[in-house]
Symmetry: C2
């Protein structure tokens, strides 16, 4: 059986015999860039129905049709983990979103803190990065990227039962205590490059659902801290067991 060279996210139901129409961009990529033809295999996922092996049934310049043959992977949901982070410079924000998708975050939430520089993000562009990372990393799930929201408002409306791991360079907390806090819904909060304000820090420390965790004796950039924190969490409470 021919090996599929392309793994594609589509917004369409997938199932045995199901046909999947391609839009112009997808057709251009498959038939123009990748030079695929009728009969060639493609792997598809839509975030709900797992991964499917499909074949090109019709190939055109402006569109095309794929037909699903067989499921190659079941849907694998990541743990119920949110990643909250303060957006930084463009390239590093893109990077955090890519890494969050690879590392298995369920939801990616850019937050505005006292020392966050950006007032705006391009949600659509960041969502596209998450899709691309899922295509790359073999995942069958794409985390949702939310719009920028204020951290204090998010904390004020915090959902009951969701715990929060917060990484503060000024603090030395033990990652070992995470396991004792137990599984269930969690969120990780990565501070901005300038750190949290005194007011924010005091508020975070007083939250009954917050757990401070140290990421070692060196100061990590926000993008490094995001990957390190997700590693610590996935090992202690996630699906890396």
């Amino acid at each position: 059986m021919k090996q599929a060279k392309v793994r594609l996210y589509v917004e369409h139901p997938l199932g045995e015999g199901q046909t999947v129409p391609l839009d112009r961009d997808q057709a251009h990529y498959l038939f123009g860039v990748m030079r695929m033809a009728v009969g060639d295999p493609v792997l598809l996922f839509n975030g709900r129905d797992g991964e499917w092996r499909a074949e090109v049934a019709e190939a055109g310049k402006r569109g095309g049709v794929l037909t699903c043959a067989a499921q190659t992977k079941p849907l694998q949901m990541p743990p119920d983990l949110w990643l909250l982070f303060a957006p930084i410079k463009k390239a590093r924000t893109d990077f955090i979103v890519e890494k969050a998708a690879e590392m298995g975050a369920a939801k990616i939430m850019p937050v505005q803190t006292a020392f966050t520089n950006s007032e705006r993000i391009r949600q659509d562009r960041l969502q596209a990065h998450a899709v691309e990372a899922a295509e790359q990393c073999g995942g069958t799930f794409v985390p949702e990227v939310c719009d920028l929201q204020k951290l204090d408002r998010l904390l004020a409306d915090w959902p009951e039962g969701r715990q929060l791991m917060f990484c503060d360079e000024a603090e030395v907390g033990a990652a070992k205590t995470l396991g004792a806090a137990g599984a269930g819904p969690w969120a990780i909060l990565i501070g901005p490059e300038g750190g949290f304000s005194e007011e924010e820090r005091a508020r975070l420390q007083a939250l009954p659902f917050a757990h401070v965790v140290s990421l070692g004796p060196r100061i990590l950039r926000a993008d490094t801290a995001a990957v390190a924190a997700m590693t610590v969490w996935q090992q202690a409470l996630g699906d890396w067991g």
Copy 2:
């Protein structure tokens, strides 16, 4: 006391009253870009003598002199950890070097594997990235970046007593067994984006000093894997305790 806005790596001894000459690039950065003047404070480190607060004693267009006042941090050596990785695309290779310095690797070793695309690296450029990352992350040590070497030759001359953690997406190893392997000299090997060859994998698995560790059920890019693997190691055996 005025807060130092700049943290600079210098190749010069540091100590009380020690004067440190600046080269043209450093003078341009401090006096041209950062607009510093005589009397302004700078933090200095050289990888050996810890971090020192110095003041500008002479400022010129082509050079200048700093005078060390007091030590602000002792030298903090990272654990004896090597990071071996197969170079990938330029931006991601730069990224791995930056992250290795932040995460506390002692030595950074680009290696050529069967599926490594690059035949060459710019060692000087990568070393400069490691210096910059050390300046940023508040470290007092700068990891050495080695020249590209062949993985099989490195393994053939492997130093006695150094253990090797190797992360293979095809394997499911338990990070928990790392602790039992014990502290001492270690190395982490991150495979290339195309994975290891069958021959390499068989050889690695047969090495008596090698430990396979899983980084979860999703496929990680090499740069993500480097940060995640160093997190796992630092938590189990390094200085994050």
